[in-house]
Amino acid sequence: MLTRETIVNIVLAALLLAVPLAANASGQPFYVTIATRVAILALAATGLNLALGLGGLVSFGHAAFFGIGGYAAGILASHSFSGEPLLFGLSGTKQMPLIWVVAMLVAGLVGLLIGTISLRTSGVYFIMITLAFAQMVYYFAISWPAYGGEDGLSILVRNQFAGVNTMKPVSFFLICYVLLMLALGLFVLVRGSRFGSALQAARQNEVRVATVGIAPYRIRLTAFAISAAMTGLAGALYADLNRFVSPSMLSWHMSGELIVLIILGGTGRLFGPLAGAALFVIFEYLLGGLTERWQFFLGLILLATVLFARGGLLGLLAGKARHG
């Protein structure tokens, strides 16, 4: 039995695959790159959605994990290029799978660290503390000159994936698309698991969860770390897409944008991040083509969404969410 939301989801997933393939077939690689951007941003926001949508943890610092993933890719690639050993005699690498693992590990560990302190608080405190820690990482990246400091770090040639020519836009898009679908699958698994139920229950009523003998803190911390790792993976892909990493990936505007993607699409919904990312990139492309001041109008649209259209795009297309 297909619900309306499932149909909308299938259509969205199919569109994201069909549009760039069609664009590629008709010789328009530019649109393939745009679709890749959508897929990567959706992956980053899906990571955040685990913490924010399921757990109700409004992290305003996920740019830190996005940027850390990006820097992991950039630093590994630069060491592989220069041949200098990285740490303890280990060398860099140009292999995407290895880079992804490192990006997820580092982002997840930093998430664990930030979460350990931030999750002691809740509400507004949590928002501000995650923001502050992300700023800390941002300022560190700016003032640490070894990897470009404020100027950022270029990745000269896109990293490699065995058997695929990653320099071809459509191949790289397919890699990102598959990873996005895997992440969405993981989201479904987590949402349906005992762990996911506890996480959602802790959002709805913390006291009850504690009463039945589950510690909300540990559940949340685990979710926060997984969420950070997923966003870190997206960061590594984003670095490879642009072949460039800079502190702007770590800036608080990025954190804000990730939340915006989720809200535009529909909070806590499986495909909310994808719908939001598609909408955001389309806005950016269309409005940005019309006026240099597109962020002004983005602000207005966002304000209207928050004030008047609370379910986001999926709320509009697929009706109310089944549970709040």
Partner: protein, 307 residues
């Protein structure tokens, strides 16, 4: 390292702290009374700076500009409150964060539209130009001392306003029980607008004062906003006293850390390395301090009882 240099840095830290207090006081008041997290507070800081720069260059007087910064920021605050913010009071924090994030985009691009992308410059008024000699022989700019004095005066004024006046009594009542003072016949909607405009005016005033030290440009409020968040998290959200102490702490620790850390490290490692590591470590210092304070007191040093 000489005593004079250390004293100079200490004063710089105080000056930063005082400015942070002006921002943090507004933020913490707005959160305390209305329960609202306002990311657009940095935009009001920017509005104040631009108003001061524009009016000062039109009239030739910094002082008229300073009054304009106060008035414009208060007016902008009141308008925003009436149009947008009052719809957010009974929403959750996520909606508040997003709506005020949207306001930042609107304010920043709107200002760029009006004034262009180039920074404006604001001259220090003649009365406050020049420098005074510090004990130890260093020269310190009068204007920075004036900022410290102005901030201290505002802190005193806020203390009197909140502790001794009728409006202050309502604000305190609003912090402890919003529904009750509404039920007692206080026009709570007007009170909210007044509090928001007051916070905005403080931010605008801070922006104008700092505008004469740095350039006046779009986005200037954002780093200050985030520092102000650190301040109120450390001080305890909703507490003016906490905001004052937190602001001075953050201002002095940040400035002294940037000054001292490289020098301390230079005792152990070569100077070039020390500058590098020290600089990077100093930029993280206040966040580490925040983490440590939160590890001991998760609600800040002076948490309001109800928050």
């Amino acid at each position: 390292m000489t005593l004079a240099l250390a004293l100079e840095q200490l004063l710089n830290g105080l000056q930063l702290g005082v400015m942070l207090f002006l921002m943090a006081a507004g933020l913490t008041l707005i959160f305390g009374v209305m329960g609202l997290i306002n990311l657009a507070h940095g935009s009001l800081y920017m509005v104040g700076a631009f108003a001061c720069a524009a009016v000062a260059s039109a009239t030739g007087s910094f002082w008229i500009g300073l009054i304009a910064s106060f008035a414009c920021a208060a007016a902008a605050g009141a308008i925003v409150e009436l149009l947008v913010i009052r719809r957010l009071y009974d929403r959750d924090h996520l909606d508040q964060v997003l709506a005020t994030f949207a306001l930042i985009l609107i304010f920043s691009e709107g200002t760029r539209w009006l004034f262009g992308s180039f920074p404006l410059y604001l001259d220090i008024p003649r009365l406050l130009q020049g420098a005074v000699a510090l004990p130890g022989g260093a020269q310190y700019p009068v204007y920075r001392l004036a900022i410290i004095a102005a901030g201290a005066l505002v802190a005193l004024g806020l203390y009197l306003l909140i502790g001794k006046t009728r409006l202050g009594m309502r604000i305190r009542a609003g912090e402890s029980d919003r529904e009750m003072i509404g039920a007692l016949g206080v026009d709570i909607r007007t009170l909210y607008t007044v509090v928001f405009a007051l916070g905005a005016a403080l931010a605008g005033f801070a922006g104008a004062m700092v505008g004469a030290l740095q350039s006046v440009q779009v986005g200037m409020g954002e780093p200050v906003l985030i520092l102000a968040f650190v301040v109120i998290v450390i001080g305890g959200i909703g507490s003016i006293k906490g905001a004052l102490l937190g602001a001075l702490l953050v201002g002095v620790v940040d400035t002294m850390g940037r000054f001292l850390l490289p020098q301390v490290l230079a005792l152990f490692v070569p100077p070039s390395q020390a500058g590098l590591i020290g600089g990077a470590a100093a930029s993280m210092l206040i966040y580490v301090m925040m983490a440590l304070i939160l590890a001991v007191k998760p609600r800040g040093l002076f948490a309001a009882a109800h928050a």
